[in-house]
Symmetry: C2
Subunit: 691 residues, 2 copies
C-alpha cells in the first residue's frame, strides 16, 4: 500500500464508520416507535422466534461446512501448504472464515431489525400510511447500509493487511458460499410455507391470505424473513464483495499511471454515501404512492452517485474519465434493465393483463403465457448486459494492457454502487408483507389492512425491479470474475515458467466441452431447488390437512392451529435440501477442471454465466408476472376473486413462487460461487488435468 | 471430382436409387391393403383434405418467401454479383431453391402416405395387431427412406455439378429455411387443435379423446399429419443435409492423403442401406410388444451400420479408422441419449410415477416437478454431446490440420446415419394416433380401439427417444457448422489477403457480446411459438364453445359438428404466426454480424447452440413426461380417470403439448438455420462491421 492509495483506504473506513452510525440511528428510530397491541406483539414474537430458530439451526450446519472448507483452503490454497508459504494459506483460510461470518452476521441483524419493524409498521398503518411506510423502509435500510458497509470494510481490511489480491478472493468465496446455502435454504423454507399456505388456504378453504386459522401462516411469515431478508441480504452482499474482489484482482495485474485501487475504493464509498443520502431523503408525500417514494429515492441515489463520481474523477490525479464512463454505463444499463423488468411484471403494463386474460381460459394458458413472457423478458436484459460489457471494454481498451477487463469490472461496480438503496427497497418488501399479516391477525381495522395492503403491493412492484437489477449486476460481476480467473491462471502459469493463456478459444475442444457442461449446471441447480420446494410443500399440505381433520374447532376459529409443526416441517426440509444443490455446483466445477484443465473451466464459467443469466431472469420475471396477474384478478379483473380465472391465476402464482423466490435469485449466487471456486483453484487445474 | 471419389458418387446414386425402389415397394404394399368401412374412409378423406389444404396454403406463402431469398442469395452470395462470378451466384440461388423444393416434396409425400396408412391401420387393428403395426410402420418408412435418400442425392448432385462446397451450404439453407417455417407452422397448427380439443373435450365435457362430437377432432388429426409427419420430416431432412454440408465444407479445406469426401458419401449411403435393412426386418411377434419391435429394428440398423462401416473403412484406401471411431462414438452416444431420454419419459421408470404422484397434490406440483425433471433430463444428454465432441476432436486431431473439426462433423454423420430408421419410427406415431381416432370415430369394436391404443402408446414412448436422438444429432451438427463457419470466414479473409481467424476467444468483447445475444434467441423463439399456440388455442376453444351453444343436438351426438371452422382457425393462425419467429432468428443473426463482425457471429452461434440444446431437451422431455404421466394416471394410478390427480395431469399435458411438439423440436431447426445464415454471410461480416 503506497501513500497514493493510503488516503483512499482511510476515507473508505471513515465512510463505513459514518454509515454504521447512520444505521444505528435508523435502528433506534424504528425501535423507539411504540407497540401497543398485545396480539400483534405475541404473533410478531412467534415470527421472530421461528426465524431465529431456523437461522440458528441453519448456521450450525453451515459453520460445520465452512470449517471443512476452511481446512481445505488452508491446506491447499493459494498453493498446497507443503509447497508454498504457510502464512499465505493461513491468511486465505482466515479471510474465507471472515467472509462467511460477516455474511451470516449481516443476515442475522437484518432479520432482527425486520422482525422489530413489522409489528411497528402494522400498528402505524392504523394511523398513517406515511409513518408506516417510513418505519418499514428505515427498518429495511438498516440491513442495506450494513451490507454495503461490511462489503467495503471487509475487502479494504483484507487488502490492507495482506496486500494480496488473491486473498480477497478467499474472503469473497466465504461470503458467496454462505450466501449460496443461505439463499437456497431460506428460499426453500419460505416457498414451502408460502405454497402450502396458498394452496390449502386460498384454493381449498377459501380463507384470506393471512387468516390465523391456517396452520402455515406463521411459517409463511417466518419465511419472508429468512428467505427474503436474510437470504437476499446474503445474496447482494455476495455480489457486492465479488464485484470488489474481481476488480481488485484485475487491478493488481495492471501497470500504468492510473490509481486503480483508489478508484475502486472511491467508487465504492461514494456509492455508500449516495445510498445513505437517498435513504435519508426517502419520504412519502401524504397523498403519494409508496411505489413512487421508493423509486424516487433510487433515482436520487443514482444521480448523486453519477455526479459525485464525475467530480471526483475529474479532480483526482490518476482517475480516468473512461473508467467513470464505464461505471456510469453499467449503472444506467442497470436502471434500464430494472425498468424493462417492470414492464413485464407491473399490472399497469399490458403483459400482466394478457396473462390475466389467458387465465380466463384455464390454468394451462396461465402457465404457457407466463413462461413465454418470462423468456421474452430475458431478452432486453441480456442484450443490455452484453452492450454494457462491450462498451466498457471498448472504452478502456486504449488505457493499456488488461484495462479492457478492468473496465467491465468497474461497470459492475457502477451497477452495484446503489446496492445499499436496492437492499433497502428489497427488505422493505417482507417487512410490509409481515405487517399486512400482523394487521390481519391482530384484528386491526379494515382501513389499516388496506393501508398495509397498499404498502405490500408497492413492495412487490419494486421487488421485481430490484431483482432484475441484482441479476444484471451479478451478470457483469461474473464476467469480470471470468477475467479474474484468467489473471489468476496466468499468474500460476507464469510462476512455473509456463506459457500464459491469452484467452479461451471456443473452438478448442476443452473449452467447448466446458461450455456445454457449464450450461447444464444452472438448469440442474434450479431443478434441485424447485423439487425441494415441491417435496416439502406436499408434506406441509398433508400436515395442514391433518390439523384441519384432527383439531376440533380449528375450521371455525375456536381452536388454535399448531403453527410450530409447520415451522418444523419447513425448517427440516430446507436444511435437508440446501446442501446437495450447492455441493453439486462446487463438485461439478472441480470435475470439469480435472477433465479439461483451465481451458475447460474457462468454458465452464462462460456456459454457466450464459445459461444462469437467462434462467435467473426468466424464473424471476415469470414468477413476478404471475404474482401480479393474480393480484390483478383479485382486484376485480376477469371475474375477480373466486372466478375461474382467479383459480387459474393462483395456480400460476404457486408455480411462480419457487421460480422467483427460490431458484431464480439463487442462480445469482450459484454463478458467483462457481466463478470464485474456479479462480481459487486455478493454480491446480492450470498444472494438472486429464485431457 | 477426381477418379478416387467418382466411384463413391456413383455408389451413392445407386444406393439412393435402390432405396427409392424399396420405398415404392413399401408404398404399394400399404396401398393394396383394403379399406371397407365407409365411415373411416370418409373421415380419413376429411383428414387428408384438411392436411393437403393447409400444406398448399402454407407452401404458397413459403415459396413467395423462398423466392425473395432466392433473389437475395443470387444477388449477394457467395459474393455480391457485381463483384464476383455471376455463374457462382446463380448456382447458389438454384441450389437454395432445390433445397426448399425437395424438403417440401418430402413432407408432401410423407403426408400422402400417412393419410393413406391411417385408415388401413385402423381397419387392420380390427383383425390383428401384427398387421396393423406393419401397415403403420411401413407407411412411416416410406418417408423415412425418401428423406435420407433425398438428402444424400441432393448433396451429391450439387457437389458433383459445382465442385464447390459452399454451394452445398446454399442447398442446406434451402432445406433448413423451409424446415424452420414448416416445423413452426405445422407445430402451431397441431398443438392449437390438440390443446383446444383436450381442454374442451377431456376437461370440460368429459368426452373421450377422439369423440366425433368434438368440433376440433378432425383438426387434431390433421395436425398430427402436418406437424408430426411433414414438420418432423422437414426437420430431420434439414439436420441430415446440414450434417452432410458442414462435413463437406470442412473436408474441402483439408489436405492430406485421406479420401474425406469419399468417407462422407460412404458413411451416408451405408446409413441408408442399414436403415432399409432395419426397416425390412421390422416385425412384431404375435404376442410381442410394438415398442420392442420398434426398438429392435433401431438396434439392428445401428449394428449393421457400425459393422459395415468398420469393414469398409478397413478395406478402402484413404479411409481412416479414427474417423470410424468418431462416427461410432457419435452413434453410440446418440443411442445412450435416447435411452436416458426414455428414463425420464417412460411410465415404467420412476420419474413419470413421481410426477403422477405430485399431480395428486394439485396441478401446480405437476408443473413444478415436470419442469424440474425436464431441466435435469437435459444434463446427461448435454454431457453426452460434450464428450462426443471432445473425444472425436482428440481422436482426429493427429490426422492433420483441421481434422479435429472434421472428426466432430463425422461424429454427427455417425449419429445421423440411422436417421432413416428414426424417421420411420417417428412417422409411425402420428399414423397410429390417427388410426386410433379413426377406429373410435368409425365405430370399430372395443378390441380394435384397444389394439390401436396400444400401438399409439408405443408410438409415444418411441417418439421421446427419437426426439432426444434428433436433438443430440442437431447439436453435433451445429457444432460442425460452427467449424464450417470458421472455414468459410477464413476463405473470405484469405481471398482478400487479410489475416485469418484462428478461433473465437471468448474473452474478446465482440465474441462475448455475440454469445450473450445468441443465448437469448432460442428462448425468444420458443416463447413466440408457444404464445402463438396459446393465442390460437384460446380462439379455437371459443369456437368450440360457440358450436356447442349454437348447434342443437351436437352435445347429444344427433347433429354434426362444423369441423372445417376449426381447421380454418388452426390454418389461419399457424400461417400468421410462423413467419415472425423465423424472421426474428435470421434478422438477429444479421444484426449481430453487423455490430460485431465475424467474431460476434462466432459467439452468437455458440450461445445459440448452448441454450438451444438445453431448451430443446428440456421442452421436449418435460412435454413427453407430462404426456405419459397423464396416460399413467388414466391407466388407473393416483385415482385414475376423473380424479383430482387426473385433472392436474391433463393440465400438465396441455402445457407440455406446445413444449414438446411446437417449440422444442423447432429449436433444432432454428439453431441450424442460424448457423447456415452465418456461414453463408461470412464473407460480408468478415469485411464489414461497426465494432
Amino acid at each position: 500500500m503506497d501513500e497514493n492509495t493510503g488516503i483512499f483506504y482511510g476515507l473508505s473506513i471513515l465512510v463505513v464508520a459514518l454509515s454504521f452510525l447512520f444505521a444505528f440511528y435508523l435502528y433506534f428510530w424504528v425501535k423507539k416507535k411504540k407497540t401497543e397491541n398485545k396480539e400483534i406483539e405475541r404473533i410478531s414474537l412467534l415470527i421472530k422466534e421461528g426465524a431465529v430458530t431456523f437461522m440458528r439451526r441453519e448456521y450450525r450446519i453451515l459453520f460445520r461446512f465452512a470449517f471443512i472448507f476452511f481446512l481445505l483452503i488452508t491446506l491447499l490454497l493459494p498453493a498446497p501448504i507443503w509447497n508454498g508459504n504457510v502464512m499465505n494459506n493461513l491468511m486465505m483460510g482466515i479471510s474465507y472464515i471472515l467472509g462467511t461470518a460477516i455474511s451470516a452476521l449481516a443476515g442475522r441483524i437484518g432479520v432482527l431489525v425486520a422482525t422489530l419493524s413489522n409489528a411497528r409498521c402494522a400498528e402505524a398503518s392504523e394511523k398513517s400510511m406515511k409513518d408506516a411506510f417510513l418505519i418499514a423502509f428505515r427498518g429495511g435500510s438498516v440491513m442495506g447500509i450494513l451490507v454495503v458497509g461490511c462489503s467495503l470494510l471487509g475487502v479494504a481490511l483484507v487488502l490492507m493487511i495482506t496486500s494480496d489480491a488473491s486473498v480477497v478472493l478467499g474472503f469473497s468465496f466465504g461470503a458467496s458460499s454462505l450466501a449460496l446455502f443461505a439463499k437456497a435454504g431460506g428460499g426453500i423454507f419460505t416457498k414451502t410455507a408460502d405454497v402450502a399456505a396458498d394452496l390449502t388456504g386460498k384454493v381449498e378453504l377459501n380463507i384470506a391470505e393471512d387468516d390465523p386459522r391456517n396452520p402455515a401462516v406463521i411459517a409463511d411469515n417466518v419465511g419472508d424473513n429468512v428467505g427474503d431478508v436474510a437470504g437476499m441480504g446474503a445474496d447482494l452482499f455476495d455480489s457486492n464483495v465479488a464485484a470488489l474482489a474481481s476488480s481488485v484482482v484485475i487491478a493488481s495485474s495492471l501497470s500504468g499511471s492510473y490509481n486503480n485501487i483508489g478508484m475502486i475504493l472511491t467508487y465504492s464509498f461514494v456509492g455508500i454515501i449516495a445510498s445513505c443520502l437517498g435513504i435519508a431523503c426517502a419520504r412519502m408525500k401524504k397523498e403519494g404512492e409508496p411505489t413512487r417514494a421508493l423509486n424516487a429515492s433510487t433515482y436520487t441515489t443514482t444521480a448523486i452517485f453519477i455526479i459525485l463520481t464525475l467530480i471526483i474523477t475529474l479532480l483526482v490525479d490518476g482517475f480516468s474519465i473512461r473508467i467513470w464512463l464505464s461505471s456510469t454505463t453499467g449503472l444506467i444499463v442497470g436502471v434500464i434493465i430494472g425498468l424493462t423488468t417492470n414492464y413485464f411484471t407491473d399490472d399497469r403494463c399490458p403483459v400482466v393483463k394478457k396473462v390475466a386474460k389467458a387465465s380466463a381460459s384455464g390454468s394451462a394458458f396461465t402457465i404457457l403465457s407466463g413462461i413465454s413472457y418470462g423468456f421474452i423478458s430475458a431478452f432486453p436484459a441480456i442484450i443490455g448486459i452484453a452492450f454494457s460489457a462491450l462498451i466498457s471494454y471498448k472504452l478502456c481498451q486504449g488505457m493499456g494492457e488488461g484495462y479492457a477487463l478492468f473496465g467491465i469490472s468497474m461497470s459492475a461496480i457502477g451497477m452495484l454502487s446503489i446496492v445499499g438503496m436496492i437492499i433497502s427497497n428489497d427488505a422493505y418488501g417482507p417487512i410490509v408483507d409481515n405487517a399486512r399479516g400482523l394487521a390481519e391477525m391482530g384484528g386491526l381495522s379494515e382501513n389499516a389492512i388496506k393501508t398495509a395492503d397498499e404498502l405490500d403491493s408497492a413492495g412487490n412492484t419494486v421487488k421485481a425491479v430490484t431483482k432484475g437489477f441484482s441479476i444484471a449486476a451479478a451478470g457483469l460481476t461474473v464476467i469480470s470474475l471470468l477475467g479474474a480467473f484468467l489473471t489468476e491462471t496466468n499468474e500460476a502459469l507464469l510462476s512455473r515458467g509456463l506459457p500464459v493463456l491469452t484467452g479461451f478459444d471456443l473452438m478448442a475442444p476443452e473449452v467447448f466441452f466446458g461450455i456445454l457442461a457449464g450450461s447444464a449446471v444452472p438448469a440442474l441447480f434450479s431443478a434441485m431447488l424447485i423439487l425441494g420446494v415441491d417435496r416439502n410443500a406436499q408434506k406441509m399440505v398433508k400436515e395442514i390437512h391433518r390439523q384441519f381433520d384432527e383439531i376440533e374447532g380449528l375450521r371455525e376459529g375456536k381452536a388454535n392451529a399448531d403453527y410450530n409443526r409447520c415451522i418444523d416441517i419447513a425448517t427440516i426440509g430446507a436444511l435437508k435440501e440446501l446442501i446437495p444443490a450447492g455441493v453439486m455446483c462446487i463438485v461439478t466445477t472441480l470435475v470439469v477442471g480435472l477433465i479439461g484443465g483451465s481451458e475447460a473451466i474457462g468454458g465452464f464459467l462462460l456456459g454457466n454465466i450464459t445459461v444462469g443469466l437467462l434462467l435467473a431472469l426468466m424464473l424471476s420475471n415469470s414468477g413476478g408476472l404471475w404474482d401480479n396477474a393474480k393480484k390483478y384478478v383479485e382486484a376485480g379483473a376477469e371475474g375477480g376473486k373466486g372466478s375461474h380465472a382467479h383459480q387459474a391465476a393462483v395456480i400460476g402464482d404457486t408455480v411462480g413462487d419457487p421460480f422467483k423466490d427460490t431458484a431464480g435469485p439463487s442462480i445469482n449466487t450459484q454463478i458467483t460461487v462457481v466463478s470464485l471456486v474456479a479462480s481459487l483453484t486455478s493454480s491446480i487445474f492450470a498444472l494438472f488435468s486429464i485431457f
